[in-house]
Symmetry: none
Subunit: 193 residues, 4 copies
DNA sequence: AATGAATGAGCATTCATTCAT
DNA sequence: TATGAATGAATGCTCATTCAT
């Protein structure tokens, strides 16, 4: 089946990219790991860069659709946000190679970062952004904060958890950190007066 | 003078790396922009990778020494942390090419990230970490939070500001965001009950 | 066919090496003369040095197998030795470029000479050595001479004929010299008393 | 003194060439070993190739003048020839680096070989050639042999002794072989009838 | 659809030589 | 004479991509 082979190539690519980095990975390595001929890769992808894009696109749309699905039944914005953090960390924590590609390899080019930003990432950030605005309307979040700034800050905090986890050689569980991050961001770090 | 030429190469490299990315930059580009012969680069650096390392090392040690200098006269930990955020954003906001190299190019390889992490970055994070612990001892920060987690979260938040700023094509001032980030992190985003 | 292309590369390399010397020959020259792309060379050989080795290996094993084949039916050791000299000079005399590579290019590095010596050359010298010992046992050669020294001397004499022939721009026939060399070595140069 | 520095460069070059081969030797290595600056080499030699030529020229003219000097008082041609063989092997046996350069490095280019041949080598060979003719006139050498062929053969035999000695890592004394070579060449290897 | 042999553009690095001091 | 920093031409090898089968 067509989708199967395409899938196999993507899976191989994630492994290879994670291990060697995008620029040091050879198309031949990816093909070899997928047990197909080099040329076959080009029947499913335009080229090496297209593979990277596809990894991102596929994962990002999963992130988004799953995120939307999981939060639609949640009423309270603070619980929604917590769920988003959990999903993010669960998902990347469960697929270490994918996490490496997302945190490290995808960041290696401004060109890619811009496309990355323009495409799914903006949408993902928007979900967070809307949730925060919703929380402000619900009265659960402070209204004197810029919701977009909060969204970026929230994303940056979670993102850093993933990066640190990767660099630590993944010696601990990632998902449980969601609760801690949310706790800090919700309550702030200043001691109550 | 020797230091001048080395400096000129580093400056050229920052510009070239920022524009094209590390892997797409040619040593000839760097040499050309520095108005020296290709071979001269190798009188000052071991090779292309050594240039990237040197950019990182030099900048990181500046970050750290300046950071330490500026916070040593500040007593209160919350003000220290605010000053660190300001410095970070001022510094990268003032040199856009350097910011691009730091946010994007240096992240392109796990190999580099590990060295990056092991070297100056860990020290930088430690300054933040110690400051937070100090704040907890002073009673200005909550004691029920993991200070290392807070440090990472703090760094991730600031770092995301820089990344977003770069991807936005630097259409706004970066430094003023320090205050906003601190405000959110200090007070939290939950509305007071 | 695979063997054909490999063969074509070897033939081109012999010509190019003969004309310009190993170090002054470019892989592109070899590929160009073989009418293939530069990269194709690397599908058949590990690199430039591997080509030189292969030329040597192939030729040396031909020398040895043909030598053994031709002398096995000869009974008398003196006739065997004469046949070896003839074969050596016929073979190199018939392929001038190969002769140049063998006499000149292969000698340009101690490193190669040692491998050369260790590999086929030792075997070739051994054939000569054994033939001389055989002749001593047959009573046809003097028993008071060190047979290994004689073998080296015999090889050195023939080898010098080839080198001189090359340097003379091959203006005469090489093969007929075999008889003359053997005549001198067999009878010695001292006048009979 | 000018000659001293020139001499020092030549000595360094012989060592460096012997160890790494002509093409793999750097002018900087030679200069470094001679304890002078790289540029100074060019005050005494036209370039790298000129150094190689000079090594050859100087050594060859020493060979020739010393050879002539030593044999002029010898009357009998066979004793002259023996003395030449001794000198050749003594000289190279006493300076291993020089021997390596002569046997291996100088042979690495047809271009050089031709100049080598045209220059001193022809003269050296001529000394041998004349000595053999002299011996034929004296009645000490057979008159039915081509004296030039014998000269080449004689040189080839001695030359091979040196090459073998080098490749053996110089584990034995070279000079004593002169007697053995002469013994074989004089008497021939055939058993007397 | 699949193959994999062939392609050839692309590039970091070396090092003989020069020349201002 | 002597220096040694600077030059820049030169090249083996890689690998993404193509295309005949």
């Amino acid at each position: 089946m067509v989708a199967d082979k395409r899938e196999a190539i993507l899976r191989s690519a994630i492994k290879v990219f994670a291990r060697k980095g995008y620029f040091n990975s050879k198309v031949a390595d990816i093909a070899g790991k997928a047990k197909i001929a080099d040329g076959t890769v080009y029947l499913y992808f335009k080229g090496k860069e297209d593979i990277l894009h596809s990894i991102f696109d596929r994962t990002m749309s999963e992130f988004i659709s799953q995120g939307n699905r999981e939060i639609e039944d949640i009423t309270k914005a603070d619980e929604k946000l917590r769920r988003i953090a959990e999903l993010h960390l669960e998902k990347l924590g469960a697929d270490q190679d994918l996490a490496v590609v997302f945190q490290v390899q995808l960041r290696g080019s401004i060109k890619f970062m811009r496309e990355f930003s323009a495409a799914g990432f903006a949408e993902y950030l928007d979900i967070i952004h809307q949730t925060i605005k919703e929380g402000q309307n619900q009265g659960v979040f402070r209204k004197d904060l810029n919701p977009l700034l909060c969204a970026k800050l929230f994303f940056g905090a979670i993102d850093e958890m993933v990066t640190n986890w990767i660099l630590s050689n993944k010696r601990y569980d990632l998902a449980p950190l969601a609760g801690e991050v949310v706790k800090v961001l919700y309550g702030g770090i200043l001691a109550p007066k």
